[in-house]
Symmetry: C2
Subunit: 499 residues, 2 copies
């Protein structure tokens, strides 16, 4: 069988190379590309996406995968056995989609991203509307390729969260929504904590330097990555040895950019930790977006917004910003960065309200796909849902429906994974606390090596060998479940707000 | 025929998209890529180069080209007619080369570039030697694909300078060498001009700002490009609307970075000026490297090192650097930036000695390809040739044999085009002076629009529709010839040095 396996891997290595090239072009598009390059970039990404799709769906790939699967493996959990399984799954899915659709979709979303940047800049939804209409129409077409389905959202969700169904997400969200709304109401009844010391001038170069120090200590490897600025922070993997992050800093907010850097470093450390043995293969990626988000949210929140973390870092942060923080105690600072306040922007939301932003987006995406609302009605619909979920109304579309890059990139089906990632992060965290009883004191000492090592061993190294629910089960002992996260929120905020 | 033409163009558009993606990956590699990404990048570039080659050499491309050529065109100079002609030429050439070679070559040169950066940094040739051996061996293999040839160097030269033969270059260089050596000796007998005011501290940010102002006034369009820093400055085209340059500044040299920026902007304005009608086609590139170099050297030298240019810019430059230049007159400055002094580094060489650096490289490349010297003997050989051509000896390999990126990129056969570009620049310049009698006064007024317009009309817009010699003939009335350049050098330096 070894010749077949070698041929199989070589075919997939070409797919990996094309996908890596796509990542480079996408990164450049969002960091450095001049505006005049957008149309050309769309054509290039269209061609590369089509080639990648054609290569993955080449009959020889299916033939070899079937042959190798039929032959079987001594160890069904070996890298090779799992590679065949994952490729068969991806192959069957990709074969249902036409390469013409793939190519057009890449072009449409490339141009839509550019339109979104301009529309958001001017806070002018109408500039983005025709592009979003095209994206939604294409996502509907995409779902059609997978008929019959239980729910039109299932095929979209499955791309980001293999194996998960819309109905299961909705069940989880129903529990979560009730509990989080109850918690927020309880918090609203208590005196608010102060965070005005964060909302003042913070020099951007100093923020950047502090953020770099933090993520270096976390373990993000700058020899295998770099950090640049982008309108919407993201992490991207070009391949083994090159996993990059982007961030942005606001000069009137001392913490926003820092948490964004921590968040993206969590994503990037995940992919930097995938075993070199899996390089250039279809297993060289995260298991799913929820697993990914469990890593980014863990570093951002469970580590970065903890009292332990700031016990170590606050004196340094205070020293970097003496005029802003000289008279602010650690305790006041800790409460300030954890202030709960229903607000407009998802990426700025606190932990207690964050998931509500996500649930609102899921509801909207389903309504758009089912056709129960039209894209042109989206700004009004968005604002009414913001009122319903969070009791706030955006002043303009830039702070409302235009705030996220996702739809312009075609990522409809992606948002639920953010909330699921929160849940998984605490499921893992409870397990880590069991196995590392001194986790807390390590963090208070600015030591993250053992934590990162645990994640490398249990999560990172495997790439996408295991399906997300399988991996969560393997590591935490249950499927994705809301209870640990609810427990975590209640404990943390009861203490902060004296509930 | 219109269906055939459309299919033909669509096939070539994919090749153009792949080549554009290769350019993006190459640019990133030389500007921002972390060291850990080199191996992966090599694999990606290998796959993309192989795909591009496979697509260009697909039998359908040859079939369609032959069919379209046989059918003929009402206007043999129409874009379509020329496209078919150029593709037939490229197709026939590419078909001779195996795609395995292409893929390996891309990988070898990607890794060699990284090795070169490290070797140059440490001034340690032995680190680069095994990579260069591989590159030379592969360039020899490449030439073999084109047997029979008159000269082993011909197939390599032809890639950069379509249609030109080594023997013609050697004839031109023989005339040029004699005249330039005579000129340099005459200059050496005269009192040297002062340029010490350039070799002092110049703030890099201020240099950058001044350079940006200059190339913007030249007409480089930052909406369709950008400037970044790189170890070895270059210009690169991702496609229509995105033509980038890189530069570097030295804090102990006031002019080096500026001239480098002007030079690269000349290349980039050429490609920014190619007609949009030719976008995504095989004609969307410069006619040859010599034509390219005629543009870069024109902006760098004929414009940028002229008294007219500095009549306008010197007061601004002086104002930016008052402590360095406050007491330096325009005349002294003009002479200083045109100081003739045999030296070690090609890209820093003055106009009177520059071509000698090139001739030396041609001689070395031919010796390596013919096998009359070995790579391991190169540092010693290089140093002896430097003594022979220029009377100077490098202190170390970084200032000697390791100074240029070209060989690490596989660009063996490229160097002669630098000298040929100098010749062409003056052939064109004489024609421009005829047709724009007030050229001189326009430059003295900081106006470059008409000059750029002339270049756009006569050179840029055509892309590579015309072969280089055909284009030089069309515009200047003769093939590439050394006399105008020799005339130019003699006139300029007789005046500066009072010969």
């Amino acid at each position: 069988m070894s010749n077949d396996m070698q041929e199989f891997k070589e075919l997939l290595a070409e797919v990996a190379d094309l996908n890596g090239a796509i990542a480079v072009l996408g990164w450049d598009q969002q960091t450095y590309m001049p505006t005049g390059g957008a149309e050309t970039r769309g054509e290039q990404l269209g061609t590369l996406a089509k080639l990648s799709h054609d290569k993955l769906t080449h009959p020889r790939v299916g033939e070899l995968a079937a042959k190798l699967a039929a032959h079987g493996f001594a160890d069904p959990d070996s890298d090779d056995a799992r590679l065949v399984k994952v490729v068969l799954r991806d192959y069957e899915k990709a074969k249902k989609v036409t390469s013409a659709w793939v190519s057009e979709y890449a072009q449409v979303t490339t141009i839509a991203q550019d339109a979104w940047v301009a529309a958001r800049h001017e806070s002018n939804f109408s500039k983005f509307q025709p592009h979003l209409e095209k994206v939604i129409a294409m996502r509907q077409e995409y779902a059609e390729f997978f008929k019959p389905y239980d729910h039109i959202y299932d095929p979209l969700l499955d791309d980001f969260e293999p194996g998960l169904k819309t109905s299961e997400v909705q069940q989880i969200f129903a529990v979560l929504r009730e509990e989080q709304v109850k918690l927020i109401r309880a918090i609203a009844a208590r005196p608010q904590v102060d965070n005005s010391f964060l909302k003042t001038y913070y020099d951007i170069e100093k923020q950047k330097a502090f953020g770099m120090e933090v993520i270096k200590l976390f373990g993000y490897n700058f020899n295998m990555g770099r950090q640049d600025l982008a309108a919407h922070p993201f992490s991207t993997t070009f391949g083994y040895g090159d996993v990059r992050i982007t961030t942005r800093f606001l000069d009137d907010d001392g913490a926003s950019g820092l948490f964004s850097s921590m968040h993206e470093s969590g994503h990037a450390m995940y992919e930097q930790g995938i075993s070199e043995k899996l390089r250039r293969s279809s297993l060289f990626t995260g298991a799913s977006m929820a697993i990914h988000e469990s890593q980014s949210r863990m570093w951002e929140n469970l580590v970065g917004r903890s009292r332990d973390f700031w016990t170590f870092f606050y004196p340094k942060f205070q020293a970097a910003f003496p005029s802003q923080l000289g008279n602010v105690s650690l305790e006041t600072f800790y409460k300030g960065i954890n202030r709960v306040q229903p607000s407009l922007i998802r990426v700025e939301a606190d932990e207690a309200t964050y998931n509500l932003h996500v649930m609102l987006r899921l509801e909207i995406e389903i309504a758009l796909l089912e056709g129960s609302i039209k894209v042109q009605d989206l700004p009004a619909y968005w604002n009414s849902k913001m009122q319903e979920y969070l009791g706030v109304t955006p002043k303009n579309d830039a702070q409302g429906v235009l705030q996220d890059v996702h739809w312009s990139s075609g990522y409809v089906g992606y948002f639920p994974t953010y909330a699921l990632g929160n849940l998984v992060s605490v499921q893992l965290w409870e397990k880590i606390q069991e196995q590392m009883p001194d986790l807390s004191s390590q963090i208070r000492a600015g030591q993250f090596g053992e934590l990162l090592g645990w994640l490398r061993t249990n999560i990172h190294q495997h790439g996408c060998k295991y399906e997300p629910q399988e991996m969560v089960m393997k590591v935490s002992g249950s499927r994705i479940t809301p209870e640990p996260y609810i427990r975590y929120l209640k404990k943390k905020y009861s203490e902060i707000y004296g509930l």
